[in-house]
């Protein structure tokens, strides 16, 4: 197959072509690794677990974000052509490796962290698995931080301050945690100039999430909760 691989850094770059042999059950990560091991050892890319858990290996494959370790070549091959590029909406470090700092900085900005309601001396609070809050949190909790949604999001592309689907989904998960003691701080964090209200509900995040999550639904939940808090605060 004819594989175009993006080579370059944050300043400049271009696609380089490689001929790669087809194999049975071959993933995009296998293709990239084959090039690095057999054609050009200077090719830079990132991976770790190879089984779809760590979220390290996402890249643009034929123009869309995919987890490359779990994407089979035969599923995405366009004729005999394959195009592999670094994730969109993130600065490129080198070749296929992007700087994930902006992505993770926004997780912190979105207040997606636990605000404890108890001390270590209190008994553990039982949470019913079918309570509405637990179900809403469960819907988003399998995020592997791969940034496929962030790369797919046109709102991120148009507004660099936008927190992005993954960070907002994390905030929604925390908001629905009945053990969380400061839900208002979560709503405040996602209501600023780069907050959830900038989402245009285009749904690319839900389409390209490799774990079939729907950050778009989480963002809609944050919009509802923040709108309700807008009226409550004015009473």
């Amino acid at each position: 197959m004819d594989v175009s691989v993006w080579r370059g850094d944050e300043h400049a770059g271009e696609f380089e072509h490689f001929k790669v042999p087809m194999q049975e059950s071959q993933t995009i990560l296998d293709v990239v690794s084959w090039i690095q091991q057999n054609q050009d050892p200077t090719l830079t890319y990132r991976y770790a677990c190879r089984v779809g858990m760590c979220g390290s290996c996402a890249m643009m494959v034929n123009g869309v974000p995919r987890w490359t370790c779990r994407t089979h070549v035969k599923k995405v091959l366009d004729g005999d052509k394959l195009e592999v590029a670094p994730l969109r909406n993130l600065p490129v470090i080198k070749d296929l490796a992007t700087d994930m700092d902006p992505f993770f900085d926004k997780w912190v900005q979105a207040e997606g962290l636990h605000h404890p309601s108890k001390t270590r001396h209190d008994a553990i609070e039982p949470i019913l698995h079918d309570s509405p809050g637990r179900e809403a949190a469960s819907a988003g909790i399998e995020c592997i931080n791969c940034s496929a949604c962030y790369a797919a999001c046109d709102t991120v592309a148009g507004n660099p301050h936008y927190l992005g689907p993954a960070a907002l989904q994390r905030a929604w998960t925390v908001y629905n945690d009945s053990k969380d003691a400061d839900k208002q701080s979560v709503l405040d964090a996602v209501s600023g100039a780069g907050g959830c209200h900038n989402c245009h509900t285009q749904g690319s995040c839900a389409v390209y999430c490799p774990n079939d999550l729907s950050p778009m639904n989480a963002i809609a939940g944050l919009k509802r909760a923040s709108a309700a808090s807008f009226f409550k605060r004015r009473k």
Binding site: T155, G158, N159
Partner: protein, 110 residues
């Protein structure tokens, strides 16, 4: 670029615009049935407090709604800074308000 306050203003102004738009269309279709001239329409709207309030509130809602919508589009296309965006939003709102108020006054004031 679009915080909670602007988001709520845009949603609430849409809530006001929706029934007024439907009312406008309904009256237009109803009034035109038997044939109606501009002079006859103006005869009914001139001096009418009801039509002044109807179209006046519509113009107010449009000024808020459209200015915020254009703020979002401009921001994503031109990548302006927050203070330039604020300036643009206010300028657009005042422009729509001026144009709309002019039309409402022409049609409803004696």
């Amino acid at each position: 670029m679009l915080g909670l306050r602007l988001y709520m203003l845009q949603r609430l102004s849409a809530l006001i615009m929706a029934p007024l738009t439907l009312g406008h269309l309904a009256v237009m279709i109803y009034a035109i049935q038997g044939g109606l001239t501009a002079a006859e329409i103006l005869g009914r709207t001139h001096g009418s407090v009801l039509w002044f309030l109807f179209y006046g509130s519509f113009v107010l809602a449009v000024s808020v709604h459209a200015a915020i919508g254009l703020r979002v589009i401009t921001s994503e296309i031109l990548k302006l800074g927050e203070s330039s965006l604020d300036l643009l939003t206010w300028a657009l709102a005042l422009f729509f308000l001026f144009m709309g108020a002019r039309a409402v006054m022409a049609v409803t004031l004696l």
